[in-house]
Symmetry: C2
Subunit: 235 residues, 2 copies
DNA sequence: TAGATTGTTAATCGATTAACAATC
DNA sequence: TAGATTGTTAATCGATTAACAATC
């Protein structure tokens, strides 16, 4: 990723892009990949909508935030649209990340193909545990936390993946900010909030996700309740 | 969890509860725990709002979906409200889960304290890999995929955590549905969609989350851009 | 009682959907 | 040209915020 300037895209008529739209971009990315794998050349908003379980209107509206990627009467060219979405999502921008915390989760992440697939380069792993330091996981060396600042000076990173214990999240995030890191992928469960809108935080709260599932399991929708009752009276 | 009937709560004047509200409930759960740990007896919507970076109005609106948990002029009793939220989220309902896929992620999850903390009981792990079968991780035995149906017959589970390869997600989910499972915590990256609204799916798409972070790193907000430009001209 | 803070209604804001003219 | 499908505006829907009366 280019660290000296931040000019983007060129022609794009970027107005304000809502959070909701941003969250759908990776889904477009994934479904377009499926179409490419299937060898489809073109796709209409209607077809894509059926695949993705959203409306065609929403797709056209979303894509038009970034420019006219389609063609009237034809639809969208799959590989062209895919290329555009990749560009938007920074695939190929050479984004560099470090992982802080080499516990079960940190190690599972670095061993996965997730980062490579999306063009994110993991340059280092850090941990406090002396038993881990020096070991290599998924081709990445585990370093001491003392090396954090000197390493970042030599190898500027765009983001840090936080997979360390909750109580260390805030102090470590502060060190990372001081070391020039501007993005956090935060798995710690301790939410990070900054006023500065140059600092980007993506929270992954697995516990919250689990509980929302629990809620829906415990509180069936009215329709489901009704059906359940009918089954009950059948027996 | 009670498998024979699905009566809920009792007095609650449950109308429709939106997805947005459901997703905030686990946050209330977490922040109330913090207040309890600190020994606070009462909290006002304003105080809680400051902690959570949301508006007091939203908190009052949210909680009133489920009934009047507060008291005018006083605020909310922390432990009472916490108990109510726990009840809503099914903590203590004895929810039972199995994990399908004992790879890095499946093993990382079962070894974490996440499930225990939220009253979810992991009763089994399943995998196809003969080298893993019979081993115990986080106190849970890894079983063969052939045991899936017989095990579920003997030990009905409420949900399955899907941590297996993408291409197996759909066929395995179908087997689980046939075996009576109604909830999926889906880490596979292959989205599951069912018409039946008794079937609950919670998608965790780590790749999508990472990409949305990438997007925001590559596209600084207008404010941030302006500031960046000023810094640039200073040097 | 006076002060505080909820519960709840009304106003605002934003996101989704529908409709259709533009155009390939 | 006729048919298809986008780009875009307008209508609808839902969620958030503001306001204030109820009440502890």
């Amino acid at each position: 990723m280019n660290h000296s300037k931040n000019e983007i895209g060129a022609e794009e008529n970027r107005t304000y892009v809502s959070e909701a739209v941003i969250r759908r971009l990776p889904r477009y990315f994934r479904y377009l990949r499926i179409l490419m794998r299937e060898g489809k050349m073109r796709v209409s908003s209607g077809e894509l909508a059926d695949m993705m379980h959203i409306t065609a209107s929403q797709i056209r509206q979303d894509l038009n935030c970034f420019g006219g990627f389609g063609q009237q009467g034809y639809g969208y060219n799959v590989s062209y649209l895919y290329a555009k979405i990749c560009e938007l999502l920074g695939v190929g921008a050479g984004i560099r990340a470090i992982i802080v915390g080499a516990g079960d989760l940190g190690r599972a992440l670095v061993r996965s193909s997730m980062f490579a697939k999306r063009g994110v380069d993991i340059t280092a792993l850090f941990d406090v545990n002396p038993a881990l330091i020096g070991r290599t996981v998924g081709g990445v060396m585990i370093r001491s936390m003392e090396e954090l600042e000197p390493f970042c000076r030599e190898n500027p990173a765009d983001m840090a993946v936080l997979t360390l214990p909750k109580d260390q999240a805030e102090p470590v995030a502060d060190r990372l900010l001081a070391a020039g890191i501007r993005g956090f992928w935060n798995f710690t469960g301790k939410e990070l909030h900054y006023d500065d809108d140059e600092i980007v935080v993506e929270e992954i709260h697995l516990g919250d996700s689990l509980m929302s599932l629990n809620y829906r399991l415990c509180h069936p929708s009215k329709d489901a309740e009704k059906r359940q009752a009918e089954i009950g009276s059948d027996t």
